[in-house]
């Protein structure tokens, strides 16, 4: 079974995000890019399925920044192949729509039974890569998946709803699944193994077939929310403070 895992690189929220005043958009020069957390879960689930059923796992990423270390780490974890799709202006950031098109072009013609990718990424503004990719591939999409079982050419998945409710859904391969959580947390791979992968393994580079940004978003402007400040202190006796808290809760529709 051949599994493809697209990996999206997103701004790391640990770093301060800043707006470039001239463009009104995120200042990418200060960004640290990290692999989307749910894509790491998707990779883990892919590796688990490979261990169970055999086959290959291919990770694919657009070269939007420092992606090599993540790709080598994926190989060290057990992926068979890592593909880096290059493009002249990728480092300026690619939206989900465009990314899905580029990835689709890159993996067309390669055997692919299953695509696993994170059900969403924290910088998704114009859609979700998995769902968009499924559309282009003409295959079913199921998101918020927390369990995947393969039998023959069928995938039985668990789809997560709020409050601990789950649904069992079955679909035929090939399909795209949006992973919310792998069966187990993404495995740790020791630094020595990653270093070894960097020396002995190769990342395949492929120039991207890029349709460009398909849509325009007029007057798009980004801003930082109001700066955080210290808590506004509520004075008074416990009974008085309680009344003030109830007023705050009512204001926000948290209580009737």
């Amino acid at each position: 079974m051949n599994i493809v895992v697209p990996i999206k690189f997103v701004p790391d929220p640990v770093e301060d995000l800043q707006i470039d005043p001239s463009s009104g958009l995120l200042d990418r020069s200060f960004l640290r890019l990290i692999p989307s957390e749910l894509d790491e879960h998707a990779l883990e689930q892919a590796l688990i399925l490979k261990e169970r059923h055999g086959g290959t796992v291919t990770v694919v990423a657009c070269d939007t920044g420092d992606v090599d270390e993540t790709l080598f780490t994926a190989l060290a974890r057990g992926a068979d192949r890592a593909v880096k799709i290059t493009g002249d202006d990728f480092q300026q950031g690619i939206g989900s729509r465009r990314m899905a098109a580029i990835i689709h072009a890159a993996i067309s013609g390669e055997p692919c039974d299953l695509v696993l990718t994170g059900t969403q990424a924290l910088d998704d503004m114009d859609g979700f890569v998995g769902a968009l990719l499924a559309e282009r591939m003409g295959v079913p999409y199921i998101g918020y998946v927390t369990k995947v079982e393969i039998a023959g050419n069928k995938a039985a998945v668990r789809k997560e709803y709020p409050g601990g409710l789950n649904a069992e859904i079955e679909t035929a391969l090939p399909a795209v699944l949006g992973i919310q959580a792998a069966e187990k947390p993404p495995r740790y791979v020791v630094t020595a193994k990653v270093m070894e992968a960097m020396k002995s393994r190769r990342i395949d580079e492929k120039p991207g077939e890029d349709p460009g940004e398909p849509f325009t978003f007029p007057d798009l402007r980004m801003a930082l929310p109001e700066p955080a400040r210290r808590a506004e202190m509520l004075d008074g006796s416990p009974a008085q403070v309680a009344q003030k808290i109830v007023a705050l809760l009512r204001e926000r529709g948290l209580v009737g």
């Binding site: 997103v10 995120l26 059900t119 709020p162 069992e168 978003f217 801003a223 808290i245 809760l249």
Partner: protein, 322 residues
């Protein structure tokens, strides 16, 4: 083109979700901004019983088919597409939830429309509709003019009050024939799995009353439980509380426990040390109660008080009328 705003209703286990009404509230605002009518799209096996609740919309567009009885992403996508096309929608609103997100991109792609994800509000400006969305875990606000001629948006959970999406009116229901191709979908809904009996998943709870060492005694957990019940939430705790066995490990918030992003985080007798605050990366409203005015919890909380937690909890429960 009727230029309608379509809100795709979300049904889980035979009930319209709260988020559907939040989306309808958003739809009302967007319809107002564009001077359009509002339609609710309902997918199901038999929509009549639920459609009556969608009176905030001017009409309900219903697609009925046995395969739509429970959420089947592939079937629902076909049905939603046909309904939205029939409406000639100007904009299509999906809930930013497990089911809405399965459909939004597919519908958008088939309509040749862009997606604006994670919206939290719509306004009018100069005869145009504007959206406000969030990205990067809420650290960035995005604003813009709603793209045309057609656009798909997702609306974040709880960003508007569900009451604003409810109405006593009974809307007219128009049935749209299920599209061709329903019979050949390859996806099958197999069944629901109930949440495990036993403890709750605190990361999925909206309201948390979280206790720390400041509650002093095990007996005072009962005060927190009563308060949590009054608020419709659950009790969680910092590590020392769990270590002492006052709460089970499933209730641990922090580095060694769960990460939560509730709507309300009431931190009672918690100092706010980094190991605990790692467990609350975001809360819509955080209130800290700690007798130490310099406790780090007050750097993270929106509001705070230095009164005694043991007295505050029952006072708050009483003030809530419970």
């Amino acid at each position: 083109m009727s230029g309608e705003i379509c809100v795709v209703a979300e049904v889980v286990r035979g009930e319209l979700t709260e988020q559907t009404f939040v989306s309808l509230a958003a739809g009302r605002k967007l319809a107002g901004a564009l001077g359009c009518r509002l339609a609710a799209v309902m997918l199901g096996a038999d929509v009549a019983p639920l459609a009556a609740a969608l009176g905030a919309a001017d009409r309900v567009l219903a697609v009925e088919h046995p395969l739509l009885a429970d959420f089947n992403p592939e079937a629902a996508l076909l049905a939603a597409e046909s309904a939205v096309r029939a409406a000639g929608a100007r904009a299509c609103i999906f809930c930013h939830t497990a089911s809405g997100m399965d459909l939004a991109c597919g519908v958008a792609h088939r309509l040749g429309a862009p997606v604006v994800a994670c919206c939290r509000d719509f306004t009018a400006a100069d005869g145009q509709a504007r959206y406000v969305a969030v990205t990067c875990g809420g650290k960035i606000i995005v604003e813009g003019t709603l793209p045309g001629p057609v656009c798909v948006v997702t609306v974040m959970p709880g960003v508007l009050r569900a009451e604003q999406g409810r109405s006593d009116r009974t809307p007219p229901v128009e049935r749209i024939s299920p599209p061709a191709g329903m019979e050949s979908v390859r996806t099958k809904f197999r069944g629901w799995i109930d949440p495990p009996a036993g403890d709750v998943d605190i990361s999925r709870q909206n309201i948390l009353v979280s206790v720390g060492r400041g509650i002093q005694k095990k007996e005072n957990i009962a005060l927190a439980e009563r308060l949590a019940a009054a608020l419709g939430g659950v009790v969680t705790g910092s590590r020392p509380i769990i270590d002492q066995g006052w709460l089970p490990p499933t209730r641990l918030v922090g580095k060694s426990g769960k990460q939560v992003r509730p709507r309300l985080y009431l931190a009672v007798g918690i100092s706010g040390a980094p190991e605990h605050m790692e467990g609350v990366p975001a809360a819509e409203l955080m209130i800290g109660i700690n007798t130490d005015a310099r406790a780090p919890i007050f750097d993270a909380a929106h509001y705070g008080a230095t009164c005694d937690a043991v007295q505050l909890m029952p006072a708050l429960a009483a003030a809530l009328g419970k």
